[in-house]
């Protein structure tokens, strides 16, 4: 099984680190992984994205054109990646940053109010972990215990006291994600 994922949002939303934690979780799960960021000026104030591939086989190209899953956290990201999701694939979007929801009917569309929830939890730093929780609920590609191991590996030791808070955020994300559109099979066939 191969999961080709793009995570995209504003620079500073934790897109790259969410990708890194997901990739590390994949390693803990015994999978092959690759993580390729957009790098350069577009990360400052603009849109940052990262391509993460998890697979049980060696990964050929870290750069791909179409994705199984797009996690989009702002409007420019949705505009850029909606068309690049494979038929039958998945879009997960945060309603806070997106005013025009995805239109495609041949993919599963999930909504997660992660920004609102981060505000409820009084901690905007865990925003990306709420989103990660939602992603793992939609597609349980790695087990929670391996995510926690991945988090441990990604975070410098001085932040390990924050692990329980991150776990709580992941679990919240799993609870609040909602399926908005189920892919219509006949549309996929076409």
């Amino acid at each position: 099984m191969t999961h080709e994922i793009v995570i995209s949002g504003f620079g500073g939303q934790g897109v790259l680190s969410m990708g890194k934690i997901l990739a590390y979780s994949g390693i803990m799960e015994g999978m092959e992984v690759s993580w390729f960021p957009s790098y350069g000026p577009e990360q400052r104030g603009g849109t940052a994205n990262v391509t993460v591939i998890l697979s049980d086989k060696p990964i050929s190209s870290p750069i791909i054109d179409t994705y199984d899953i797009a996690v989009v956290l702002n409007q420019p990201s949705l505009d850029k990646f909606e068309e690049k999701v494979k038929p039958g694939g998945i879009i997960i979007y945060d309603s806070y940053g997106i005013h025009t929801p995805p239109k495609r009917k041949d993919i599963d569309v999930y909504k997660i109010n992660a920004m609102d929830e981060a505000v409820n939890m009084n901690n905007d730093k865990v925003f990306n972990m709420i989103v990660l929780g939602g992603l793992l609920k939609a597609v349980p590609m790695v087990q929670l215990e391996n995510v926690m191991e991945g988090l441990k590996k990604s975070l410098p030791e001085r932040y390990h006291n924050l692990l329980p808070m991150n776990k709580e955020a992941i679990l919240r994300g799993m609870e609040i994600i909602q399926l908005e559109n189920k892919a219509e099979l006949n549309k996929i066939m076409n």
């Binding site: 992984v33 993580w35 790098y39 350069g40 000026p41 190209s61 750069i63 054109d65």
Partner: protein
């Protein structure tokens, strides 16, 4: 530190591998997309553990000349930069070659010419394997296509550089430098002691001892008769390297009717294109040169007798394709596909180009 699997960028892997190899000195100047090399080295602070020197020089010129000095004293020294910075280092690289000194240079290429872009490119192939600096010299050139090879080629690069007393380059690009993958870092070795350097490198300028004459390193020789002899010695060494050190990888070549030839990140894109091509019934294989100099001419010549056509895929306007055509010598169709100025071709585009240029 023993072997452990970690997730890191190619640039970070080079830094960690350098510390573990027992490198004596790194001299560099930051430039995207390779700044993580010097950043990681500074974070790791190896001067407190192995005694390795890490220095941010005032310019690329200073950095390569610090490498020149360190190399002359038999130390394992390295520098890294990206395309425009590597252009600045060319004089020093020519001097290293002309003085027969070992050193490792890393080029994490970005799109040119000039300051160009910061996005990935392979457009420094000509510069690296056809000269770069002045004079009849060759640069041992390794082209990693994974984060693991970024780590592994630090060791290989230094081994070849010291074996042949010649500078070696890791020629990579922004894709491999910036991407993260699993990597098994090599076990740590301690740096060589001064006594070991004296024994292993009798040529090293480490201060004269009573038993030997001074070691003098210079590329200057005003007597052309001697200078020709020097050049003949260099050339004999290059022939020896061409004989012994060609490295390449063959993937799905056993039954291949067509061949992709690609190195580094382009080879990764080709692997995906091969999966797609084979689903459509095209038997395509990949020949991936690992050493760009010495170039794997012989194996390409052999495949020219077996396959119906070759597509050379590069992140440039067609550079390595010239060497492939020389090796093939007209026996089979060789076409090129590339994107320019920092754009990485997608597997779909490679497949389309293959169908259009090779199978029709």
């Amino acid at each position: 530190m023993s072997e452990e699997i970690v997730l890191m960028k190619g640039n970070e892997a080079i830094a960690h591998a350098a510390i573990r190899y027992g490198v004596d000195g790194y001299f560099g100047y930051p430039i995207t997309p390779q700044s993580e090399i010097i950043e990681t080295l500074m974070e790791e602070a190896p001067w407190e553990t192995t005694g390795m020197v890490v220095l941010q020089a005032e310019s690329e010129l200073a950095a390569i000349n610090m490498v020149y000095g360190g190399a002359a004293s038999g130390k394992a020294v390295m520098t890294s930069s990206s395309s425009p910075g590597i252009s600045l280092k060319q004089e020093g690289i020519s001097y290293l070659a002309g003085t027969e000194l070992p050193a490792l240079i890393v080029n994490v290429q970005r799109g040119g010419p000039g300051l160009g872009t910061i996005q990935p490119s392979q457009s420094d192939y000509f510069q690296t394997v056809k000269g770069g600096g002045h004079g009849d010299y060759r640069l041992i050139t390794l082209a990693p296509n994974s984060v693991q090879e970024m780590a592994d080629f630090v060791d290989l690069g230094f081994r070849l550089a010291f074996k042949y007393r010649n500078p070696a380059m890791i020629l990579t690009d922004g894709v491999i430098g910036q991407m993260m993958e699993k990597v098994t870092l090599p076990p740590s070795r301690r740096r060589r002691t001064e006594q070991e350097i004296r024994e292993q490198c009798p040529w090293a300028a480490l201060g004269k001892t009573p038993e030997r004459k001074p070691n003098i390193h210079t590329s200057l020789e005003l007597d052309p008769v001697i200078m020709e002899k020097n050049n003949e010695r260099f050339q004999a060494k290059y022939r020896e390297i061409e004989k012994n050190e060609v490295r390449y990888e063959e993937i799905q070549c056993e039954d291949a009717e067509y061949l992709f030839v690609a190195f580094g990140s382009a080879a990764r894109v080709c692997l995906k294109a091969i999966e797609m091509a084979r689903e459509e019934g095209f038997k395509v294989g990949l020949l991936r040169p690992i050493t760009l100099w010495p170039f794997p001419c012989k194996i390409i010549e052999e495949y020219a007798k077996k396959v119906k056509g070759m597509l050379v895929v590069e992140l440039n306007a067609g550079q390595m394709v010239e060497d492939v055509r020389l090796a093939v010598n007209g026996k089979v169709k060789v076409e090129h596909y590339g994107r320019l100025g920092g754009i990485v071709p997608t597997p779909d585009a490679v497949l389309e180009a293959f169908k259009e240029k090779i199978t029709k």
